[in-house]
Amino acid sequence: MGKIAIEDLAKIQEAARYKIALRQGAGRVRINVHMGTCGIAAGARGILTAVMKEIEARNLHDVIITNSGCAGLCSQEPMMTIEVLGEPAPVKYVLLTPEKITKIIDMHVLKGQVVKECALALGSERTR
Amino acid sequence: MVTINIDGKSVEVLEETTILKAAEQAGVWIPTMCHSEHLEPYGVCRLCSVEVVRGKRSRIVTACNFPVRGGMTIHTNSKKVQWLRQVIMELMLSRWPRVRVVKEMAERLAVKEPRFPSLERDEAEDACILCGMCVNMCNDVVKAGVLGFAHSGIKREVVLPFDERSDSCIVCGACAHVCPTGHIKVILEDYRGKKPEFTLGPKTPIYVPTLQAVPRVPVIDAESCIHFETGGCEICAKVCEPNAIDYSMQDEIVEIEVGQVLVSTGFDLFDASAMAQYGYGRLDNVYSSLEFESILNSTGPTGGKIVMKSGKEPKAVGIIHCIGSRDTNHHAYCSRVCCMYALKFAHLVRDRTDAAIYQFYIDMRAFGKGYEEFYNRLLDEGVTMIRGKAAEVVEGCWQGNGEPSLKIRCEDTLIGKFREVPVDMVVLCNAIEPRRDSDAVRRLFSISKSPDGFFLERHPKLDPTSTATEGVFIAGCAQGPKDIPDTVAQAGSAAARILSVIAKGEVEIEPVRAMVQEEYCSGCKICNNLCPYIAIEFLEEKKVSHVNEALCKGCGTCVAACPSSAMTGHGFTDAQILAELDGLMI
């Protein structure tokens, strides 16, 4: 990049902030895609990629995407749980398709409103 | 300046001087084992540790390099300091039990038996005690950078690079000089072309030639001085208070206008090695007269003691006259002074040693005032005078104790027998001969020389101190061999002659000059570039030559060369010479 000025420091910091934040395990929203064997078979991988694309598109820096084991409801796969800091309980979304993902991200992650029609139920066992 | 307190005495010293120097000033002794005043303090033996109290903090520091600051109290002998020195001394004594400086210091610090076993490897008397003075001397002062330390810790030792003889060593011997235990020895043998022989010359590069030298000022021999080799050392400049030493001085050529010159360039001594039979330069203890003179001199190399090369006193001394004099192969003339100084030598040898003395002479020329009486006195003192020219000096050892000595073979004409005289030392009376460069000097002052090569005086009887050339005078041995009284007399006379001319203010010169008779001069300019003194110039407007009277010396060469006889010479005109011719023809 050649000789940098003081202002460039902030720019570099900004560019890598998301990476660093993730590394420190700091994040406001936590999206957990359930990837049990059945989940994978039901296409959970595609869902995960879709979620990541949405996050990147909106340049969100405080969303943690993780995957975990099967949540037990194989019939409702693929499923994902969204926990938001400060919200009382995590919300589990079921029978997901890439299209639903965009809606959920906009409504719930950004605006904080739960998308009722896709949600299975409020609350689930604590992951943390 | 700051005032400090050492063991109760208050001392005023310059700031930043070391405690050691301040203590010296206060007359307090502090032990040191790795300190030399030529070197930067090294501070490794730690013996000079003292206790320094500033404010409430007291600490142990080494005196040799601790810079003094105001308000300091120093205890050079507190209980703790004594204890420290004792333990350090025990360590050194246990490792170097037989080294003299260590034993002396241990005694002084009352350390008897070390409580540690020896390391069984440095028990020699001249073991190296790793004080580092040689390394610092070689690197910081001499700047030859040859010595250095190798290995670390207990295996530390002083080494030459790759343990081999180093080419950058300039054999100055400074390391051996500063080594306190004599561990470093300078091997006196043929090393890089420098053959160290028992030279009668000076011991150090800077020396006062002799105490009678005028001016009595030291000179530096650039050949052997370290500074001119490596740019280092400069110790002489450091210790010279009036710092009168300036290494950048060069010889200068000084031109002085003078009216008259007294040429008293002295003589050379005949090189006796030309007469191989006397063994000069080949055999030990065969000295020329001047060398023996420097041995007798109290400020000379032997301090006046008559000693042989081995340093011992000779038992018998032979003095041989006429070496190179009265000898058709070398110098026919008699050098006039040898007989008398030979007698002086005999007298001094008799006076300073109890050696037997033999003199080999052809004729005893004791011609001067009181000379004959001195000769008789010598005879009474038991000097054996052998009338006969010594033929040869050969090696021999007669004292039977393996000491090398000499034998002089000669024919004693008074008893008509051939004799072989055993002696330890031979003194040759070398002939006095003209200086090697006397021809060049002669041409410089355009004076001529007599048959024996010395300068020719105007008249041997009536005018021995002036020369045929106006304004040039001679005196002393330059005019011929003579002793000191005669030389002084001649010098006085030459000086008087010069002063008389100076006193008159002007100088009469003979009116012998060339002159151009302009009417006859055809302007051919033949004479112009003929004149060695460029005294003839050509007047462009008159188209005639003209002689500059001040420059013309009157040699007449131009007069003879002038085709139209326009040039006449006062005092030697053609007419006068022709008249002489007529006169001669009757």
Partner: protein, 146 residues
């Protein structure tokens, strides 16, 4: 009585004349035939003088100067050494045997050399016999006229 040659010697004041003087002082015996004229330098000796000397009846002429390099006037004897050899070839034309004219270097210390030269020259001229030049006759006659 035997033929006593008349030889004229031109001696330079600084070297050969002093040499001659030294010979005298040293009581060296030598032939009296050489009659000396002192000039400041051998360079002063004009070839005309030499020819005049022969003309006046000299049987031999010798010119003496300082050794090359010793000349009191630096280069005087260099001029002489150019003139004299040339003159010696010239005198042959006048019917004078060149051996009657010599140039020698004698320094102030060579008294014995001076004496040697004088004796040598005298014997040589004596062997050559008197110089007979046609011009000699006229000279005698006018003298006779007085």
């Amino acid at each position: 009585m035997a033929f006593e040659p008349k030889i004229i010697g031109f001696l330079c004041n600084w070297c050969s004349y002093t040499g001659a003087d030294l010979a005298g002082v040293s009581r060296i015996k030598s032939a009296p035939n050489v009659r000396i004229i002192r000039t400041m330098c051998s360079g002063r000796v004009d070839p005309a003088f030499i020819l005049k000397a022969f003309q006046l009846g000299a049987d031999g002429v010798i010119v003496m100067g300082c050794h090359l390099g010793d000349c009191h006037y630096q280069e005087g004897n260099y001029k002489t050494i150019r003139r004299l050899p040339f003159l010696r070839r010239l005198v042959k034309g006048f019917g004078i045997d060149p051996r009657r004219l010599r140039l020698e270097w004698v320094s102030a210390s060579e008294g014995d050399k001076f004496a040697l030269l004088v004796n040598e020259m005298t014997e040589e001229i004596r062997s050559l016999g008197p110089l007979k030049l046609s011009v000699h006759h006229e000279i005698q006659q006018p003298v006779a006229h007085h």
